[in-house]
Amino acid sequence: MKTNYLFPNSFKKSSGILFLISILGIILFPIINKDDNLIQLQANVFALFYDEGLKTKTLGWTNDDIFPELLGIMTIVSGLIFAFSKEKIEDEMISKIRTESLVWATYLSYAVLLFCIIFIYGFTFFNILTYNIFTILFVFILRFRWMLYKNNQTYSHEE
């Protein structure tokens, strides 16, 4: 089965570890940083849009805590590579499971979004939206891994 849109299998392990660390980071960061902003990484960054006081400005430099940005980038990049790197034997059945999992992930991710649109209002909605960015990746990885695991189980029972 030839696919040119997947990463090599050798990327799987390292990206998986990085993804796990970033997930832990995303969960722990708001808890650790709750009141006293323990983790701060101030830097001057170029921005297309940014707020200064109450005004929104365009195209300029701004000073911001970039730790959440770095965490977000790390989660997305490692998550994408982990999700879309080849299995040891990447055959057509794996491809089918991959496609199905992607459809499931899209459904579930938008189901969560719909739920939030209907039932969550105000600023909490936007807070939850920032997490919702990761649902599609997260659900895909969970569903795909679970199906592969189940496949392995049925195999070990036979022959």
Binding site: D91, E92, M93, E159
Partner: protein, 66 residues
């Protein structure tokens, strides 16, 4: 779709793992095909038929539900 890959495999006296390796898929895929849980692509069906030296129709068969 029905298939008799398991029988063909028994005739040829090879294991699921050996068959998998010969046609370049995972053992789980062979297992799923034999269990009727996965319908192989035309390419894979042709590879299996070539390996067992039997026409595809003798290995794979349509069912009334197909």
């Amino acid at each position: 779709m029905k298939n008799n890959v398991k029988i063909q495999r028994a005739i040829a006296n090879i294991t699921q793992a050996q068959l998998a390796e010969k046609i370049g898929v995972s053992r789980q895929t062979i297992n799923a095909i034999e269990a009727g849980k996965y319908v192989p692509s035309t390419v894979l069906a042709l590879k299996i038929s070539k390996l067992f030296d039997k026409p595809v129709n003798e290995i794979f068969e349509l069912e009334s539900t197909d």
